[in-house]
């Protein structure tokens, strides 16, 4: 297995040797679901979790939403395929929010009834170490290509559940005039990042916060994966004055996600 090559390929992919004409992820030019935010990314086996799809359409069109949950998904490698169809259930609501009511769904009993299940690392799953319920969302503008998105909600007995990052500010530093370079910056609360114990290794760790910025106009600086943990970036404002929408999505790598929106007016 030539694993190191994967690292090298990624590292040198950052050099940007060739110009690409492909669409840029940070440019919101069409309908986009930016993420699913759970009010609690980690909960107990009888909890109720509110889920919200953060989406944006430059044309402001109404979107459709279909929610579901799988109690035993095979993970991203298997494209979140639900291992057992009997463990996949629809969630209520046709709007951008829904609720996962584990108690109402009798999650714990279903989990136990399914017998010993093996996790992605080959180990037997346990509610003491955590079991992921995978939320599925299909969203889109009617008549157009839909987006299929997944989010894990970790179900675990015990204390100190993970929380979404606390983002106290999303600021624009600089003059909001057409064609200018300004800085976008997020700031975190005192409780962010959190320290926690890794499930796999039992080691103490500190969350590494990663930030994605989006804009529906102007141009955001190209941010490689090496820059994702930087809380700021450069935005070149549009050449024409008018309204613009900015987003910052902060994730903690453990399922915690906070998405902030900022609407600005660009002056001449």
């Amino acid at each position: 297995m030539r694993a190191h090559l994967l690292v090298l390929a990624g590292v040198f992919g950052l050099l940007g040797c060739a110009e690409s004409t492909l669409p840029v992820e940070s440019a919101l030019t069409d309908y986009r679901v930016l993420g699913i935010v759970a009010d609690q990314p980690e909960v107990g086996p009888d909890a109720q979790v509110a889920l919200t799809a953060v989406d944006f359409d430059p044309e402001g069109r109404p979107a459709g939403y279909v929610w579901s949950a799988c109690f035993y998904s095979l993970g991203s490698r298997a494209k979140f395929q639900c291992a057992d169809p009997s463990l996949e259930i629809p969630l209520p609501g046709a709007g951008p929010t829904t609720v996962l009511d584990l108690a109402a769904l009798d999650f714990e009993a279903r989990f136990e009834a399914a017998g010993p299940l093996v996790g992605l690392d080959g180990q037997v799953l346990s509610l003491d170490t955590g079991v992921d319920v995978t939320i599925g969302l299909t969203a889109g503008i009617p008549g157009q290509r839909a987006t299929r998105m997944y989010k894990r909600v970790r179900v675990r007995r015990g204390d100190a559940p993970n929380r979404n990052p606390t983002v106290t500010g999303f600021e624009v530093e600089g003059e909001l005039r057409a064609g200018r370079e300004v800085t976008l910056r997020v700031t975190y609360g005192d409780d962010t990042p959190e320290t926690y114990t890794e499930v796999q290794t039992g080691r103490a760790a500190t969350e590494r916060l990663l930030v994605n910025f989006y804009a529906d106009a102007g141009e955001l600086a190209d941010r490689s994966p090496f820059d994702e943990s930087l809380p700021d970036t450069t935005w070149t404002t549009p050449d024409e004055p008018g309204p613009a929408v900015l987003f910052a999505a902060v994730r903690d790598g453990r399922g915690g996600l906070t998405v902030l929106r900022r609407d600005v007016d660009i002056l001449p």
Partner: protein, 840 residues
């Protein structure tokens, strides 16, 4: 009236010219050329004598292991009866046979028989003095054996010995004209003073006048394998596109898939698939190339030649079910202090060698300066991401000593590749380092029994990481032990017995996304590996791999038929499998210049640590097996032109493939098949030209689960054509080209994506595995070399243009972040480069 000039301008051990190769110019000839013992004077053709016409006839002849001459053939005729007279006389020559080490070998040489009208001095003057001297090559100071030194006025001649020395006894005092003529060297004519009662010592530096070495070895050892292809350093030294790197040159041979340059450019994929291994003196090295194929990790100047076995290799190799490359090092020079210093756009290196005690010692070192180049070429925003920019170095210390029947070799060597990314927001990098030693003792116990014992110990670390999402670290101490016994049971029967044991001890750490890395047929990652914490899996294991093997091979010769049945027994400790691997090969010369050949055998390979780990793979996996079959023929078309056609079939069994069960993950359930034909049309190195045309047609298919349909391997390249040509216009100017046409690689297209909200990444949805194919690759590489030859050293510069007509070859298909749009990502554009090398 007639005189002869010996010219060992082409010396070729018999049995497989198509796979043969020349010896390196800087190396002392591994072959001891034949020495003419009995010269037969040809009658001067009467008509020519009457017309006072002089001429020279160049003939090719075979000098057998017993020194007799056969198969005399006129290469450059002179007419007027000269040809017949020369053939008749040369046929009765006797030689001291050529030797490879201590063993006499049959060789093919050329001989220039000169007919000159020189008045014979009927009575020599009274003996009064001695003239002795030495012939060496300008620039390299290499001794020149086998050249004729003539004193035309006296009708005397002498042949230089292995050390280039010659002597004339009992010469009358006074001035004497001396002449050396050889097709390989500029004519030399000089007058020397012979002093009564004294020895006059002279030293002549001859300037090379033609291509390559005097001795061109085109198949040093008797052939036994059906598909061994040998490349010598001399042959590829100026090959365009390889920067003079011997290992890179193997990519131009049939059966070798083209791999795009990059960080997996060092992959050696032979005959469509299966594992492959690189060896140095039959001991494996952890990393054959720096940074994906930029340069091999062993200095080419220390390489004598290398053998490529794309399949059906002998029982002395194992542990892979694909093919093998075996690099053989040369002995350091012992005829004085020599060396070189060289530099090109990638790196700079130097080598010093000379006699030490009773042996020879060579020390070589090389370091890249890509980091320095990038520091200038890259924009600051990118440059600041590296704490250690890409850099590599390697070094070798080689000592050899021969003492009668004993031959001792000690090698210390190591290599380091390192790139570290350390920005304020991320960490990542790659380290691949290894170092160790290799010792070999060969003892020729008798004419019929040879014993060779060798061992190597290498310590290596391979580490790749990116932030906390991914790390793979393998640290190994690998001991390999080989013990070979060769016994001639009878004139027609040889027996080879061997032990080939490997013991590796170390640690393995892998922290990555569940499921590990993409496997054969799965799309490669589009960026650095990362995963949500929910899917991060980490495993740390101690490794203890012991794979002892014993083998036996019989070589049975009946007339012109050679049959080699063999058996290799191997224990794979990690999987607890015993592999019984029978192999059989045969060659037969069915007509003059025509050899047919066939081979079949079983090969086994153990899964790697990732596949055997209990969280990413399956510790219950067994070995993978491959049946390999080859058959074909070799045809000598002309003295220099040969054709080799080989068909092959490989059947893979028990391939480790994915299972949709997190508790199992992998199982030995895959199978595959590869079939095709390889063609090599080769023009051996002659005075001005060499080149080859290599073509492979093949199809490689596999299925990962029983009942599935077959799909293509990742590097299924239907057509692979390489044309290599090198021509020396003058003694100091030469030019070369390489043109390649290769079918585009298959790829797995993306048909969409789902979004992982926890990572904010798009997870691609794959279409049918390897159902797409890139457009064909073709490119022309050009190279121009200029040499300046001084008395004691030589300077070479070269200019090279890779992809000279700037073909926009597609490297891969790139996708937008959401996999809704795609574009072709191109391979390297035209790349000019240059280099300089001074050697003494």
């Amino acid at each position: 009236m007639n005189r002869a000039l010996l010219c060992l301008c082409l010396l070729a051990p018999l049995g497989g010219r198509a796979q043969d190769a020349p010896a390196p110019a800087a190396a002392p000839a591994a072959i001891t050329p034949p020495v003419l013992e009995t010269f037969v004077e040809a009658p001067y053709p009467p008509a020519a004598l009457e017309a006072r016409r002089e001429a020279a006839v160049i003939v090719a002849l075979t000098v057998g292991e017993d020194g007799t001459v056969s198969d005399v053939e006129v290469v450059e005729p002179a007419g007027d009866g000269f040809d017949e007279a020369a053939v008749e006389a040369v046929s009765r020559f006797r030689f001291t046979p050529a030797r490879a080490g201590d063993a006499p070998i049959a060789v093919r040489i050329q001989y220039r028989y000169a007919f000159t009208l020189t008045e014979v001095v009927e009575e020599k003057a009274a003996p009064t003095g001695r003239l002795e001297g030495r012939l060496v090559e300008a620039g390299t100071r290499r001794p020149l054996p086998g050249l004729i030194v003539r004193l035309p006025a006296l009708g005397l001649e002498a042949i230089s010995d292995a050390d280039g020395r010659f002597a004339f006894e009992d010469l009358q005092s006074g001035r004497v004209l001396l002449r050396v003529e050889d097709p390989e060297y500029a004519d030399l004519e000089d007058e020397e003073e012979v002093v009564e009662g004294q020895a006059t010592e002279v030293r002549y530096i001859l300037e090379r006048d033609a291509f390559g070495d005097t001795v061109t070895v085109v198949g040093r050892r008797p052939r036994k394998e059906v598909v061994r292809r040998t490349v010598s350093v001399q042959e590829i030294r100026t090959l365009p596109g390889t920067q003079g790197d011997a290992l890179k040159a193997v990519q131009n041979l049939p059966g070798v898939a083209r791999v795009a340059p990059g960080f997996d450019g060092d992959r050696l994929v032979l005959r469509g698939g299966g594992g492959s291994r690189a060896y140095v003196d039959r001991h494996p090295v952890p990393l054959a190339f720096h940074f994906g194929g930029i340069r091999s990790t062993v200095a080419s100047a220390l390489i004598e030649d290398l053998d490529l076995y794309p399949g059906n290799y002998g029982p002395e190799f194992g542990r892979v079910n694909g093919g093998v490359v075996d690099v053989r090092l040369r002995d350091p020079r012992t005829d004085g202090l020599h060396g070189y210093a060289e530099a090109d756009v990638f790196d700079a290196g130097a080598l010093v060698e000379g006699p030490v005690g009773d042996g020879g010692l060579a020390v070589a070192f090389r370091r890249s300066y890509i980091d320095g180049v990038l520091a200038v070429a890259l924009p600051e925003s990118v440059r600041r991401r590296f704490s250690t920019a890409p850099r590599y170095y390697d070094g070798q210390v080689l000592y050899t000593r021969k003492d009668g029947p004993h031959d001792l070799r000690l090698l210390l060597f190591g290599s380091s590749d390192r790139i570290i990314v350390l920005s304020e927001s991320a960490q990542g990098g790659f380290v691949n380092e290894w170092a160790g030693g290799l010792g070999r003792w060969r003892h020729r116990i008798s004419d019929t029994l040879t014993h060779e014992l060798s061992a190597s110990l290498l310590v290596s670390q391979e580490n790749g990481r990116f932030n906390t999402d991914f790390e793979r670290n393998v640290e190994l101490a690998r001991l390999t032990l080989r013990d070979d016994l060769s016994l001639a049971l009878s004139p027609s029967l040889d027996l080879r017995l061997g032990l080939d044991a490997e013991l590796a001890v170390g640690t393995f750490l892998l922290r990555s996304q569940a499921g590990g890395f993409p496997r054969e047929g799965e799309a490669p990652p589009d960026g650095p590996p990362k995963a949500s914490d929910a899917e991060i899996v980490e495993v740390t294991e101690d490794l203890l791999w012991n794979t002892p093997a014993v083998f036996a091979e019989l070589e049975w010769r009946v007339g012109k038929l050679k049959v080699l049945p063999s058996l290799r027994l191997e224990w794979f400790g990690a999987t607890e499998d015993v592999a019984v691997q029978p192999r059989l090969s045969a060659r037969a010369e069915v007509a003059t210049g025509t050899t047919v050949k066939a081979a079949a055998g079983l090969y086994s390979e153990q899964p790697g640590p990732d596949d055997l780990s209990d969280r990413f793979g399956n510790p219950a996996l067994g070995i993978e097996r491959t049946w390999q079959v080859s058959a074909g023929f070799e045809q000598q078309l002309t003295e220099a032109l040969s054709l080799d056609v080989t068909g092959f079939y490989k059947q893979f069994q028990d391939l480790a493939t994915r299972v949709d069960d997190p508790a199992v993950r992998l199982a030995n359930q895959g199978e595959g098949r590869v079939y095709g034909v390889e063609v090599l049309l080769r023009h051996d190195l002659t005075s001005r030209f060499f080149g080859w045309l290599a073509y492979t047609w093949q199809r490689s298919e596999r299925r990962d689960r029983p009942g599935e349909g077959y799909r293509l391997f990742d590097l299924d390249q239907t057509h692979n054509l390489t044309l290599v040509a090198q021509y020396r216009f003058t003694p100091t100017w030469e030019a070369g080209l390489r043109w390649r046409f290769v079918s585009g690689n298959p790829y797995t297209p993306a048909v969409g994506a789902v979004v992982d909200s926890d990572d904010l990444t798009y997870v691609r949805l794959d279409g049918e595995a390897n159902s797409g194919r890139l457009s064909p690759y073709h490119a022309l590489d050009l190279r121009l070399d200029k040499h300046w030859v001084f008395e004691t050293w030589r300077l070479t510069t070269y200019l090279e243009a890779q992809n000279a007509y700037n073909r926009e070859n597609v490297r891969e298909v790139g996708y937008s972040y959401d996999y809704t749009a795609s574009e072709s990502q191109l391979d390297l554009p035209i790349i000019p480069s240059f280099g300089v090398r001074g050697e003494w």
